[in-house]
């Protein structure tokens, strides 16, 4: 692994060019969507002679992936696909990723780079408490642990007291989970009279799937006495491991031999030079089942110019600074306000004025409250009736979003309106920026 991490950048660019040439042809020949999209844009998949030539190819968006649910974007027959993951989102419009054995191997290798950056390997005990399942966090970290030769403990999320016992007694050295869950573990341990800085044996945490601020990182590092590495990834291109911070904590090294990154102006689609902020666009270089050509991630970042002190030659992206759409990340789950809208419009008892408030609770976890204005159609005549409705809305939201939401009914005209539109989202989380 050291060899590829320190390869001259020209060598990496050669790998990228060869890979991209193959990827665009593979997409064109095997995926009806790409054939149509390339033809419409007048893009000849055989015309790529340099990395810049990729700019002639059209973009692909999350909506395109959804429109081709479930298997429409697969470039290999299902018989070659070993595993499926789905991005968090409403049932029915999820985006699906397929992985051949080769894809799973790449994934493990990419995530294992984080362990490598932490100077880890077979002597480490990797504690994975991302959720295992369709979410790519759990198994992505798991494959990374296996690839690196470390002892991997598949804890999955939840049962925090058991997590704490294992962290203390099994001597885990690297923990992989969302940053908010790491904070929750630390705070719960302190409440139990266990000092994680002394009683745990952690060296590094590989944390991602949700944004966190520098202050939040410092708090974590102080409480757990370890080093926090930010990991980036998305189901649409693979999962966690597309880019990971090294020990320098100064930008996330892209796995450039597997992903080609462009930064574009989200309004014009034009490619921006290194150093400028814009939307990250990714092209897979050697994915088999679910390749993507110029996938618009909606994440805002920039390519950090210059070389990293760690010696790794793969270019770095800055930490994600926001989204070009209105997606929220709540407890690691992607939530779009439109999903909430879809649920809310089925309830006549409340008006279309509602607001989502995201805050941090006393356990450092994200807490979502939805406020909705009561309609005259609702016989809110008794506390029982109000509670019933609140429970019903809450249950429907939980099903649609996979996130628990506390519902609070409010009086008419109490939700702030600006220019006749409700301010839909109020994000009060301390950890974010």
């Amino acid at each position: 692994m050291q060899e590829i991490l320190h390869a001259p950048h020209e060598k990496i660019e050669e790998i990228q060019l060869e890979g991209i040439k193959k990827t665009v042809i593979q997409c064109y020949e095997n995926v009806a969507f790409y054939k149509r999209s390339f033809d419409e844009a007048g893009f000849d998949p055989h015309s790529i002679k340099s990395l810049e030539d990729l700019q002639k190819a059209p973009f692909v968006t999350k909506q395109d992936l959804r429109d081709n649910y479930p298997y429409g974007m697969f470039a290999t027959p299902l018989s070659e696909v070993k595993e499926i993951h789905m991005s968090s989102g409403t049932t029915g419009v999820a985006t699906v990723g397929g992985y051949t054995q080769h894809d799973l191997d790449i994934w493990g290798e990419c995530f294992a780079r984080g362990i490598e950056y932490a100077n880890g390997g077979k002597d480490d005990v990797v504690h994975v408490c991302y959720g295992y399942g369709l979410f790519t966090g759990g198994l992505g970290a798991h494959y990374g642990g296996l690839y690196s030769g470390a002892t991997t403990i598949p804890m999955s999320a939840g049962n925090t007291e058991r997590q704490i016992r294992v962290l203390k007694e099994m001597g885990s050295t690297i923990i992989c989970c969302t940053p908010s869950y790491a904070m929750h573990i630390a705070d719960t341990a302190l409440e139990m009279g266990i000092d994680p800085a002394r009683d745990f044996h952690l060296r590094a945490g590989i944390h991602g799937a949700e944004p966190f601020s520098d202050n939040f990182r410092r708090d974590l590092e102080r409480k757990l006495n370890y080093h926090v590495l930010d990991v980036y990834g998305l189901t649409e291109t693979m999962g966690p491991g597309v880019a990971i911070e090294c020990w320098e904590q100064n930008g996330l090294h892209l796995a450039e031999d597997h992903f080609y990154a462009e930064i574009i102006d989200p309004n014009t689609g034009e490619v921006l030079p290194d150093g400028e902020w814009g939307e990250l666009v990714l092209t897979t270089i050697d994915r088999e089942a679910s390749p993507v050509v110029r996938y618009r991630t909606r994440d805002i970042t920039r390519i950090l110019p210059g070389e990293c002190a760690c010696g790794c030659t793969h270019r770095r992206i800055d930490r994600i600074h926001g989204r070009t759409d209105d997606m929220l990340i709540i407890r690691g789950v992607n939530v779009f306000p439109s999903q909430i809208e879809d649920v809310m419009k089925t309830f006549d008892q409340v008006s279309s004025w509602y607001q989502i408030e995201v805050d941090t609770d006393h356990r450092s976890l994200d807490m979502v409250t939805l406020k909705a204005e009561v309609n005259p159609d609702f016989a809110f005549d008794s506390v029982a009736a109000v509670e019933r409705l609140q429970k019903e809305i809450s249950a429907r939201l939980k099903t649609a979003l996979s996130v628990g939401v506390k519902v609070k009914l409010v009086e008419p005209k109490t939700i702030a309106r600006s220019e006749g539109k409700a301010k839909r989202i109020v994000d009060l989380r301390k950890g974010i920026k």
Binding site: V374, P376, A379, F380, D381, S382, V383, L409, V410, P412
Partner: protein, 142 residues
């Protein structure tokens, strides 16, 4: 059955005072006011002189108010008077969603009662009258 106005109010300081002021300014006299409160909101139940005028005043004032039908029943004003009525309802298998007392004279108290199942309200009303309790009509409370 008589009209009751139900108002959804946030549990905020001064909110109920301003509700009462709105009704006062509209020259509405309240015969009963009862609040079911939680930490976040309260459900205010009002029986008053002119339901339609009260509703339109509340609506104009930006309140969320609805009209609900409740049963108003007279019980003798002596120890065990309310218990007699409630036991009778229990015997009849009538489920009460909520109730409150809204006026008393020397020899009589009036209870406002919401029957959980509106379909059984008429039958319950008839059975209660048969048992000797007086059930009020709208014009008797105005």
């Amino acid at each position: 059955m008589i009209d009751q106005i139900t108002v959804f109010l946030e549990n905020k300081r001064g909110r109920i005072a301003s509700l009462c002021r709105t009704l006062g300014d509209a020259n509405i006299n309240m015969a009963a006011l009862s609040v079911a409160d939680t930490t976040e909101y309260g459900i205010v139940r009002i029986i008053c002189s002119d339901t339609a005028a009260a509703l339109s005043a509340l609506d104009a004032g930006g309140y969320r108010a609805i009209k609900t039908k409740v049963m108003a029943i007279a019980v003798p004003h002596h120890p065990g008077g309310a218990a007699d009525l409630l036991e009778k309802l229990d015997d009849l298998d009538v489920d009460i969603e909520y109730f409150y007392c809204f006026s008393t004279t020397d020899d009589m108290a009036v209870l406002a009662l919401k029957i959980a199942d509106p379909a059984s309200a008429a039958e319950a009303s008839w059975a209660i009258e048969k048992a000797g309790f007086h059930v009020f009509d709208q014009d008797e409370v105005e």
